[in-house]
């Protein structure tokens, strides 16, 4: 009968000859620190950590690992920026506490909103025209439903994809300036 091995046995066996050099170890450690920071940021977002407590926890964590740069914290905050949500809280943190110049980010997020509003307005007009022409339905009570419009879904998806690429570029620029 064959030997029954536990998951731990299997993992140990597979990683027996696995060695990490110092660079890889640091990378692994950074990932772990990033996860801790992400937890603090979530607590801050949920209102269970104040701004001061967030800074204190992050500083303690970085100090505990002898890290002088706060690039990991900045990176985790940048990861939380999303085109479709209100990012003011994160932008304020970046600006006030980490000395990040948020101008390019703000400009990009505003441009995204403008682009989406423009597509939305255009599609709403088109949907109203279609309802009137094809279904003879019109009037001030009619509000087009963009979610039911295949063209809106496609066009807004394209705009989002374009701006996601631009957002990634701006984020990379900020991290590069932070020396990460």
């Amino acid at each position: 009968m064959g030997e029954i091995k536990s998951t731990l046995d299997l993992v140990m066996e597979k990683t027996k000859h696995l060695n990490l050099n110092s660079e890889e170890k640091q990378k692994q450690l950074n990932i772990e620190i990033g996860k801790h920071i992400n937890g603090f940021l979530q607590k801050f977002q949920d209102g269970t950590l104040t701004r001061a407590q967030l800074i204190e926890e992050c500083a303690r964590l970085l100090k505990g690992h002898n890290l002088s740069s706060n690039a990991i914290v900045v990176g985790e905050i940048l990861n939380r920026l999303d085109l479709s949500t209100d990012n003011r809280e994160w932008m304020d943190l970046l600006k006030d506490l980490f000395d990040v110049s948020t101008g390019p980010l703000e400009k990009l997020l505003d441009a995204y909103q403008e682009a989406m509003n423009s597509v939305a307005s255009y599609r709403r007009v088109k949907l109203r025209e279609n309802l009137a022409r094809e279904h003879h339905i019109s009037g001030s009570a009619v509000v087009p439903n963009l979610a039911a419009d295949a063209e809106w879904l496609a066009e807004s998806g394209d705009v989002r994809s374009q701006f996601e690429l631009k957002l990634d570029e701006v984020k990379s620029g900020i991290l590069a300036a932070k020396g990460d």
């Binding site: 003879h136 339905i137 009570a141 509000v143 439903n145």
Partner: protein, 221 residues
């Protein structure tokens, strides 16, 4: 049941199952108001058949609100020509807070997709003018529909014969219900066509119904 000119009512009469009254405006655009429960839709279908119509003849479905006993049968119109609409606030509510309520009754709100929304204002259907009133209280985005030419008022579950809609369900609001009823009581109505129970016919009877409701029920909500 033929009410007047182009209005037909499919009145729900069973005492053993809950379902709503459905109404048909047989105009240039055929409008079905509140198709009701899916499993009980044969009640509407047989009514339509009696008029020589099928569900493929319906051009527009308006739901006065998104409670399952009014909206569920909309699913039967999927891939049919009919457009489907309800108030934008009602949809926002039904797909967030109200979603749990519908799920508890086995209805997946994700299977519905309104073609457009309503808000208070004029709705023109191939020349036929309907006034849409936002009448919250029974639910946040309930609407009542008023057809001035026929002096017909479709109230959903806002107001009934000798009664008013529940305010204890999620999204219900007694103060708003009273405000909504007061707003509708100002209209000239010959036919009060509620979402449940009997129709009220005659201008005097409708006015008396509003007065009675205000006098008797308003103190309780």
């Amino acid at each position: 049941m033929h009410i007047v000119n182009n209005i037909h009512a499919f009145i729900w009469q069973s005492m053993t199952a809950n379902n709503c009254n459905a109404y048909l405006i047989d105009g240039p655009t055929r409008v079905l108001i509140d198709p009701g429960h899916r499993s009980l839709f044969n009640h509407v279908e047989s009514g339509l058949r009696g008029l020589g119509l099928g569900i493929e003849d319906i051009d527009l479905i308006i739901c006065t609100h998104a409670h399952p006993d009014h909206i569920e049968a909309v699913q039967l119109f999927k891939d049919r020509p009919a457009q489907f609409t309800l108030h934008e606030v009602e949809w926002q509510w039904a797909t967030t807070v109200g979603k749990q309520m519908s799920a508890a009754l086995g209805i997946d709100m994700d299977s519905f997709l309104p073609d457009f929304f309503l808000r208070q204002g004029e709705l023109t259907l191939d020349g036929l003018e309907i006034e849409v009133y936002h009448t919250p209280g029974h639910s946040p985005g309930s609407v009542s529909l008023y057809w001035p030419t026929q002096k017909a008022l479709f109230t959903g579950d806002l107001v009934f014969k000798d009664g008013l809609g529940r305010t204890d369900l999620p999204g219900g609001d007694g103060s708003k219900l009273k405000e909504s009823i007061k707003m509708l009581a100002e209209l000239e109505v010959d036919y009060l066509l509620p979402g449940h129970m009997e129709i009220v016919s005659g201008a005097k009877q409708v006015k008396a119904n509003f007065q009675q409701i205000e006098k008797f029920w308003f103190g309780y909500i």
